[in-house]
């Protein structure tokens, strides 16, 4: 009986093309929109090398070595330097042929117009140089035998600069928006679930009435509908994930874990819709409104529209973030990205799973209600 119900639940879900297409189009459109707004951050071209003029006023072999290594051609190249006279350098800066002038003396300094992204990178390079030089000098004094090692470190630090370059501009915040898209799209599954569950209830639809008359437990019908919607929604989330990866959104490489988040995210969205759909008090229009509102509010609270809301909730009422499914989904991604351990990730996922089960059980008890006072 489950299989029979499931087969037709699947068929009705798939045949409802408009809803299906919108549920899919929605996260994809949102992702595209976000990508277009701050998409440059994800493009490889942004790894462009920074053209700089270098004016050597006093020899400084250690820094020159750093510069040479940073401008070595290849994937890790950070700067493209031209060693020249001060006059020519100023000319080039004027003509915007270079972004900055680096003066090399015993103390290195930088001339950059304004406060650009390139300026930040270059400043950091120089600061880092000083830090390391200090360490190296210190080592020279205290443990000269380590000197070789320290110098090698200094030279091979390109990786660090390159990385700093790409993650600059708060890419984490932007990626967070993409996590929030998943949260939102999962919760929007509630919409379909709400609609479908009303077709099980005798007091809401004639169809529900007819299904009520059949000699079968309602739990079977609910579960069949649940799994059919889960599979569909999960597939939609996977397609969205693939699309975002294609756009170049950096999710790290823990894909199995990410997919698990999407699975439980779909679960919670659907069970959410099921519980709202089974509340008999509201008209079906009102229920759909409630679904939309709650999905929006919860997603905004998980920083879909602006970052910082989730953080302030964390400061004032952290329990909300522990229970808000949208925040849990976003936080699972975040935890995967930040932590090496899975404690927080699994805690989030477990909360999602348990909440989902509880909601379905409650709605079963509401729906299976023996008789209705009014139809």
């Amino acid at each position: 009986m489950f299989l029979h119900n499931f087969k037709y639940a699947m068929r009705t879900t798939m045949k409802n093309k408009t809803t299906l297409i919108w549920t899919l189009l929605f996260p994809i459109a949102l992702a595209t929109f976000m990508y277009m707004s701050f998409g440059e951050l994800f493009e490889e071209e942004m790894m462009d090398v920074i053209p700089v003029a270098v004016v050597v006023q006093e020899s400084n072999p250690s820094f020159e070595e750093v510069l040479a290594s940073l401008s070595k051609e290849g994937e890790d190249q950070v700067i493209d330097m031209t060693v020249t006279s001060e006059k020519k350098a100023l000319e080039k800066l004027e003509n915007e042929e270079v972004d900055a002038i680096i003066y090399v003396t015993d103390i290195v300094y930088l001339k950059v117009p304004g406060n650009s992204y390139e300026a930040t990178v270059l400043k950091t390079i120089i600061e880092e140089y000083y830090k390391v030089r200090y360490v190296v000098t210190d080592i020279g004094k205290t443990a000269p035998e380590m000197m070789q090692n320290a110098l090698a470190n200094l030279r091979s630090d390109n990786q660090y600069y390159t990385k700093m370059k790409t993650s600059d501009g708060n890419q984490d915040v932007y990626t967070n928006y993409f996590y929030a898209i998943f949260a939102m799209s999962c919760l929007f599954a509630s919409f379909v679930a709400c609609e479908k569950i009303q077709k099980i209830q005798a007091n809401v639809s004639p169809l529900g009435m007819r299904r009520c008359l059949s000699p079968n437990s309602k739990m079977i019908t609910i579960l069949a509908e649940f799994f059919a919607m889960l599979i569909t929604q999960f597939a939609i989330e996977l397609i969205t994930l693939a699309y975002m990866v294609m756009l170049g959104v950096d999710f790290g490489n823990k894909y199995p874990q990410i997919i698990l988040v999407l699975f439980f995210g779909s679960c919670i969205g659907i069970s959410f819709g099921i519980i709202i759909g089974s509340m008999t008090r509201f008209s079906s229009g009102a229920k759909e409104g409630i679904c939309t509102c709650i999905s929006m509010i919860l997603s905004v609270m998980a920083d879909l529209c602006a970052s910082g809301i989730k953080y302030s909730i964390e400061q004032t009422m952290p329990i909300i973030n522990r229970l808000n499914p949208s925040a849990l989904i976003v936080d699972s991604f975040y935890a995967l990205n930040i932590y090496d351990t899975y404690d927080r990730y699994f805690q989030n996922i477990a909360t999602l799973g348990i909440m989902s089960a509880v909601l379905i059980i409650i709605s079963f008890f509401i729906i299976r209600r023996n008789k209705y006072a009014s139809l």
Binding site: M1, H4, N5, Y8, R11, T12, K15, N16, K199, A202, S205, P206, L207, M209, R210, R211, C212, L213, S214, P215, N216, S217, N370, K371, Y372, A373, S374, L375
Partner: protein, 312 residues
């Protein structure tokens, strides 16, 4: 014959409104039982109470001799319902709809396939199996609604106004079909506010009004309950008061009405009523148009008992 349905002292209230007021009903197996009543008289409410969809305030309901509960699955499997509102999936084709509902009752695949095809043939939708409900006309949709309700070959079938919005031709097909189902052994409960339909197919009829049982019996028994035996109606222009008076004095006549140029004379018994009426008119040289002599209908029964017309 055993009772298929027994309803005793059923009371159902919607807030202040009393929809069923100590309502009693007994339906025997093998009957086509008609529930006749005007809009809002409580027909659908009665059926929903019997089906255990609605809670009720008082009373006792037994189906096939057993008390009916929402999870009386062994009773439910023998019941088929064709509801007043069309209840089908918009997303599924005609075939899939029937197959889905049939599959809720019949587990065996081969048997189910056979039943589904028989049901589709029964309502004459063979040419539409691949159609979606929205592509069907109102009448065809009603037929699909019927197929969904009866595909599992239930022993007891409820038809709640299945012919609303159906053209006369389809209506006749549906009525014939219902008779056929009954011949094949099903007990039928048929509700309608069209008395002609009820008269045509029902073996026993219950007339209800405002949630109360007004009269019950075969159509002949019902008609015998009232004094009216014949109504004569004549199209005639400009009748004077004294003529009406004289007509009312005719033997067996108990009432005369003259409205919209139609003369109505009600008789209770008597054999040559029409002749006497026409003689009376001819004597005064009054010309008249069409003349009908009608035997009592269920409408007359309803009219006499409740004082209002059954028709809308």
């Amino acid at each position: 014959m055993a009772n298929a349905i027994e309803v005793k002292n059923l009371v159902k209230r919607y807030k202040e409104l009393v929809a069923l007021d100590h309502f009693n009903l007994e339906i025997k197996e093998g009957e086509i039982f008609g529930l006749l009543g005007p809009n809002g008289s409580g027909k659908t409410t009665t059926i929903n109470c019997i089906l255990s969809l609605l809670s009720y305030d008082k009373g006792e309901i037994k189906v096939f001799g057993r008390e009916m509960h929402p999870n009386s699955y062994d009773i439910k499997k023998d019941i088929g319902v064709v509801m007043q509102n069309v209840a089908v999936f918009d997303e599924l084709t005609v075939y899939d709809n029937v197959d889905y509902f049939c599959g809720l009752y019949i587990k065996d695949k081969a048997q189910r396939k056979q039943y589904v095809n028989e049901a589709i043939e029964f309502v004459g939708l063979e040419d539409y199996t691949k159609f979606l409900p929205k592509k069907l006309s109102g009448g065809l949709l009603r037929r699909l609604n019927i197929a969904c309700g009866i595909a599992h070959k239930p022993k007891l079938i409820f038809f709640d106004e299945p012919t609303v919005a159906v053209d006369p031709q389809s209506r006749n097909k549906i009525l014939e079909g219902i008779t056929k189902l009954n011949e094949d052994g099903a007990t039928i409960v048929y509700t309608s506010h069209y008395m002609e339909e009820v008269e045509q197919i029902c073996s026993r009829i219950l007339i209800m009004d405002k949630g109360k049982n007004v009269a019950i019996g075969t159509k002949e028994e019902l008609k015998k309950m009232i004094k009216n035996t014949e109504t004569i109606s004549i199209e005639v222009m400009g009748l004077e008061e004294d003529v009406l008076k004289e007509l009312k004095e005719l033997p067996h006549a108990y009432d005369v009405k003259y409205e919209n140029m139609t003369l109505l004379i009600y008789f209770s018994g008597g054999k040559h009523n029409l002749v006497r009426v026409l003689e009376c008119l001819q004597k005064r040289d009054i010309s008249f148009g069409r003349v009908y002599s009608e035997l009592p209908t269920l409408n007359d029964v309803f009219l006499e008992i409740t004082g209002k017309e059954l028709r809308d």
